[in-house]
Subunit: 120 residues, 2 copies
DNA sequence: TGAACAATTGAGCAGATATTCAACTATAAT
DNA sequence: ATTATAGTTGAATATCTGCTCAATTGTTCA
């Protein structure tokens, strides 16, 4: 398997070519990285991460979230749609209200990991 | 402490008002959520998450990363600057090359958590 | 049925963002 | 010094994104 045959740069890096080759050999499919970036993108907006945090404490309806975060219901609803499409939250209607909850425990784990990093 | 005095919506939700109040009582400062969203934003681009993954396997120079990911050195350098400003990677010049490495072990932990979720 | 509340949706807009391109700095080698 | 390689930077651009606003749907209650 030719790895560096058509390489256009780093032409004198024989010293660390092994490292590059080792990394390349382990590299997952590009789709995996796309999915991964899409997952983290769901956490990359202040409003969405607040929503996810709030739902990690209790299931809540749209107007509860709008009140808690000081946003319009429309804005929250748009973000919840993204989070639903990303399979991070699930919803259930109870009368006039639609209650949202985290889809699984991974979401909380990712949040916790982030908090740990932010708090130095 | 008046919580619902100036509430504009959810006017008949006395049943779950307790939940809302409990969540509000635990809510961190808005700055914390901003920092958290900025952290995850660094992981929210396919190129950046590939860079971080590659650096979790080995420290690499800019042209190595450009080769591995099929991008220009300029594009990689721009993204590395963002990752440096986010304190997720550190750099060190060795002759003509500038080697990059992950700043700390939290980065790898967050990546691993993400992979776990993506792989169902 | 009609009124009120809760939630969703689509269009549109202002701001953010990833990449390209060209110019530039830094180091090494001849 | 000159040349070549490695890396950075700023401007420009095309795309994306988060919110607002208005209209609409779904549910409850009178």
């Amino acid at each position: 398997m030719i790895l560096f045959g058509d390489r256009l740069s780093c032409q004198d890096n024989a010293t660390h070519a092994d490292a590059v080759q080792a990394v390349q050999a382990q590299m997952p499919e590009p789709d995996v990285f796309y999915d991964l970036s899409m997952l983290f993108k769901a956490f990359s907006d202040k409003t969405r991460v607040q929503v996810l945090w709030a739902l990690s404490k209790s299931q809540l309806c749209v107007c509860d979230l709008a009140f808690l975060l000081g946003k319009t219901e429309s804005a929250i609803s748009h973000q919840l749609k993204l989070l639903r499409l990303a399979n991070l939250v699930k919803s259930e209607r109870q009368g006039k209200h639609v209650f949202y909850a985290l889809a699984d425990e991974h979401v909380q784990a990712i949040l916790a990991m982030g908090f740990e990093h932010v708090n130095e």
